[in-house]
Symmetry: C2
Subunit: 249 residues, 2 copies
């Protein structure tokens, strides 16, 4: 696949609960899938604990090396929500009570319920621009090329959807998939030949194990629709040629 | 929480399919949860594409800085399975056809079906020790402090379960959780006080959004059972004191 024109993104998942296995992350796949539609490739994801020095270090690294960085988690009102303040330190700016954020939250909460604890969520790094939160009021924010989002998937997704007009992607990455009952071993040689014939279409094979049976999903990706269809047909011919079945996804 | 005696682990997830969002990772939570039971803290997870130079770079980094490293993905028989060979390069050793692995696979496969493509899975870095694969035959392997496992969750889990006697952990990390209908904002101040009273019990609060309602899971973690129970009681008192409900997990 031609990746020269593609924009590259990284995701930083901030949260002890993901690392301890207590919470199943659902944000990576949502971000990866939706970036791909925009022609942006998710190149690396890192999952780190709620530790200030680690957040600062990773935000600096990824912000400097990728076109776009997305963080999830740690922007609530409690003692373990240290993402916003850590990111301010990473960019060497102050945390300020953001009057636009306060106004949004005043509209969202019932009169008298916008407590000091809630207002902590309006403390945002200086110079950041807000990102709309249609689900629970308190906005997320963007600073430089870093988008700082909530960890709760429903809220994260709504925030992500409301920021996509700020992202400039390359040509969209198109995908096709073929699912078969054959094992990878039977497909390996033929698939290698098909891959070698055309570098513009990258072919991945992903074994699965369902109901006690192994099978394979073959996924083709390219920015060129014609070549993608051509290579997909070759994969289907390969499967049929060695007596395999093709399933729809 | 006292982390001085704890062993530290990192996970490297290798796979374009996770980054593109096509496949939902299920391995991180399994590994995180089971390491915790063994008194090993999962400190960092990185998700990277199937790119040799990246795999080499990350394996070197994490192997040098953590007690244990687990990789998942990329050990099958196809052209995009480059994990084993990349790890051999990271440790500057040769790839060799492992006779023990061949013998295991000869027992697993029907006579005549152990093809050259399948035998590729018996090519393993020199000096590595095998890890049993009760699900699909071809073994995984360990080299130095790096455990190289399959990506398919069922297979990865069986491999992980069969290697745990090689891991030496610290005191087991105990957890307790309290789930409530209160929002984080209402709990923030009281929870901060309880956290500040006792550093040996770390308190995390994780908002959730279900059926249109927000609530919070509060998770307490410690290696000290008595202190864990004491702090959990304080959290429950806090919730009741401000009129919240407590749910069982």
């Amino acid at each position: 696949m031609n990746k020269k024109n593609s924009k590259k993104a990284a995701v930083i998942i901030i949260g002890n609960e993901i690392l301890s296995g207590r919470t199943q992350d659902l944000n990576i796949s949502y971000i990866g899938k939706n970036l791909e539609k925009l022609g942006i490739i998710l190149v690396e994801v890192i999952i780190i604990p709620d530790v200030e020095v680690t957040i600062i270090d990773k935000v600096k690294h990824y912000s400097g090396n990728y076109d776009y960085v997305f963080t999830t988690g740690g922007i609530g009102p409690t003692h373990d929500d240290i993402t916003a303040a850590s990111i301010a330190k990473a960019f060497n700016v102050k945390m300020l009570r953001n009057s636009e954020a306060v106004a949004i939250m005043e509209r969202y909460y019932e009169p008298g319920t916008l407590t000091e604890a809630r207002l902590k969520m309006a403390d945002i790094p200086e110079g950041a621009s807000l990102i709309d939160n249609p689900v629970s009021g308190a906005p997320a924010f963007q600073i430089n090329n870093v988008f700082v989002l909530a960890g709760v998937p429903k809220i994260m997704q709504a925030m992500f959807d409301s920021l996509t007009d700020r992202l400039v992607g390359g040509p969209p990455i198109l995908t096709a998939s073929v699912c078969t009952n054959l094992t990878e071993s039977k497909l390996a040689e033929g698939m290698t030949n098909i891959q070698n014939e055309c570098e513009a279409v990258s072919i991945g094979s992903y074994p699965y194990f369902k109901h006690g049976k192994l099978g394979v999903n073959i996924v083709l990706r390219s920015t060129n629709k014609e070549l993608l269809l051509q290579q997909t047909e070759l994969i289907e011919k390969l499967i049929k040629g060695i007596g395999g079945k093709i399933y729809k996804d």
